[in-house]
Amino acid sequence: MSDPGLELPALALRVREHVLRMAARGGCFVGASLSCADLLVHLYTRVLRVSPARVNDPQRDYLFLSKGHDVPALYGVLAELGYLDPERLESHLSTEDSIYWHPNRAVRGVEFHSGSLGHLLAVALGVALDIRLCGGRNRVFVLLGDGELNEGSIWEACLVAAALRLDNLVAVVDRNGFQANARTEELIPLEPLAAKFEAFGWSCCSADGHDFEALDEAFSRFPLEPGRPSVVLAQTVRGKGVPSLEGRVDRWFAVFTPDEAEALVEELRGGRVAPVLGEGLVVR
C-alpha cells in the first residue's frame, strides 16, 4: 500500500488526465478506463500490499487486469505512484516502447498480459492456488469487466475457484453497464448478477465504485466468507468524470486531437463542457 495520506480524488483526477491524453496519442479505450480509474486508485493506495519496490516480492498482493483494454487507467496509476516514469506515457503506441492498448509485463507493475477477455480469472486462480500451497497470506485481485462476463471461461473459472475454496481470490467487477457497443442489460442481461455469483459459490458484495469511503468499507473485510472466493460488484459509470463522455454507448474507444483532449481535461476539472466530439470517436 502506498502513502495512506494521499488525496485520492486528486490522484484519480490526474489518472483520468493521463487517460484523456493517451487518447490523443493514437486513441485508447477511454470509456472503460475512466469507469475503473477510481477502483484502481483505491486498490493501489488502500488495499494492495504492493509497492514499486515489491513488484517481484512473492509475498505481495496481486492485481490482474482481466479486461485489459482499460490499461490506460492502470498506467496512469502506475505513473502517479512511482512504478512507471510518467514520461513513458508519451511513448504510447511507440514501437520503441511497450505502452499499447493492452497490458503486458514489459511495463513494471503489470502482473500479466491481457486483452482477450475471459482469461485472467483462471490465471489468477492459479496464482491464488500457489499462494495457498506456499502457505502465503497474500491475496489475488482480478478486475473484470461486466461485458467480459459474457465469456464462458469466466464462469468455468468461477466454478473451479469455488470448488478449490480459494478465499484468497477476489474478483472486482467494473459494473459500468456497458459492453463495447451496447448496454449489457439490452444485449446479454447479467442481472441478477450477485445471485449468479452466489449460486456459483462466491460471496458477493456491492459498492459504489466511485465512492472511496464505500470502497473502503467493501474492501475492509476479505474474505467475505472463509472458504469462498469473494466478488465486489463495483457500480460505476462509463466515462466517469467527463460529463460529455459519461454513460454513452458511443464513448468506448476514442481518438482525440491534442486540442480535444485538453478541452476534455478542462471539462474533467470542472470547466465548461467540451464541444461534442463526433469525428474523433470511434466504436471498435
Binding site: H113, V123, G126, A128, D130, L133, A157, V160
Partner: protein, 317 residues
Amino acid sequence: MTSGSYESALAAIAAERRDIIVMTAENRAPIRHLPALLGERFVDVGICEQTLVGAAAGLALRGRTPVAHALAAFLVMRAYEFIRTDVGIGRLPVKLVGYVPGFLSEGNGPTHQAIEDVALMRGIPGMQVFCPADEAELVAGLPAILASPQPCYVRYNALPPVCEHPAPFSIGRAECVAEGDGVAILTYGLMLREALRARAILEARHVPVQVLNLRMLKPLDEPAVLAAARGTELLVTLEDHLLTGGLHSIVAELLVRSGVRARLLALGLEERWFRPAPLPAVLRHEGLSGARVAERILETLIRPLPFHSGSSPCPIE
C-alpha cells in the same frame, strides 16, 4: 503403479522437484495413483480445459512447472487460445499432455480425433512438440521436457515398446532406428511400428530403407531430415495426423527453405477425419498399416516421375 510407466516416472520426478504440479481436466486414467502421492500438488479442475490452462499459466507465473493433462482434442482445441495467449505469449514452462491423440482415439469418432494437434501446437512461438513412439520413449524424454524452460506439448503415447531406443533422448534430436539408402521413412509416435513393418517387407524386396523416428517435431532435427533427403531416392513422411501442418508440411517447408530437392511421398490423413474403429482396423482402412505403407512406397518407386507424387492414389499420371 507399474514400474517404468509414465505415471511412475512423473511421480519420481515430482518427488524430487517440488515445483512440479500435476493437473488434469478430469482425465485421470494414466495418472490415477498420483493424487495419493502428491496431495495438494495434484489438481483436478473438472471438465474445464480453459481453466486448466489458465490456472497452469498462473502457477507457472509463481515459479511452478505445471504438467496439465487432458484429452488431446479438447486440450489443444477447446483451450487453444488459452495455450497460445497465456502460455505462449507468456513463454511459461507449462507442459501440456494430450491423451489419445491421432489414431489412439480409436472408436471415439471425429469429435475426439486430435489429428491437427501438431499443426496447432507448432504454430505457437516457443512451443516444443514431443511425440514419443511408445511409453519407453515417453519416459526417457520426460526429464528433459520437464527441465526445459519452454512450454511443451506432449503427444501422449504409452503403447508397449516398438523397438529398442538405444540413443539417449535429447531435445530436438531424432533417432535413426534403421539404416538404408533407398527410401527414408520419417515418422513419429505410434506410426513408427508401421514404418518398421513396412521396412521388413521392403527389405525382403531388396529395397533398403532408413527409418527415422523424429521424437520431436519442434524443434526438428533438421540435419537428420536433410541427410535423409540427400542420402535416399525417396523421402516418405508417415503420420497419424492431417497432412496439413503436420510432418509432411514440416519436411516440405524445410526442403524448400534449404533448397534441397527430394522426391516426397506423404502418407497421412488428407482433408478428412478417419473411420472410428480399433487401431488395427483404422490402420488398414486408412491405408497406413505397415503392409499398405510398403505397397504405396513400391507403387511410388516404380513410377517414372522424379519429383513429388502426393499421397496414394497418385494424382499425377
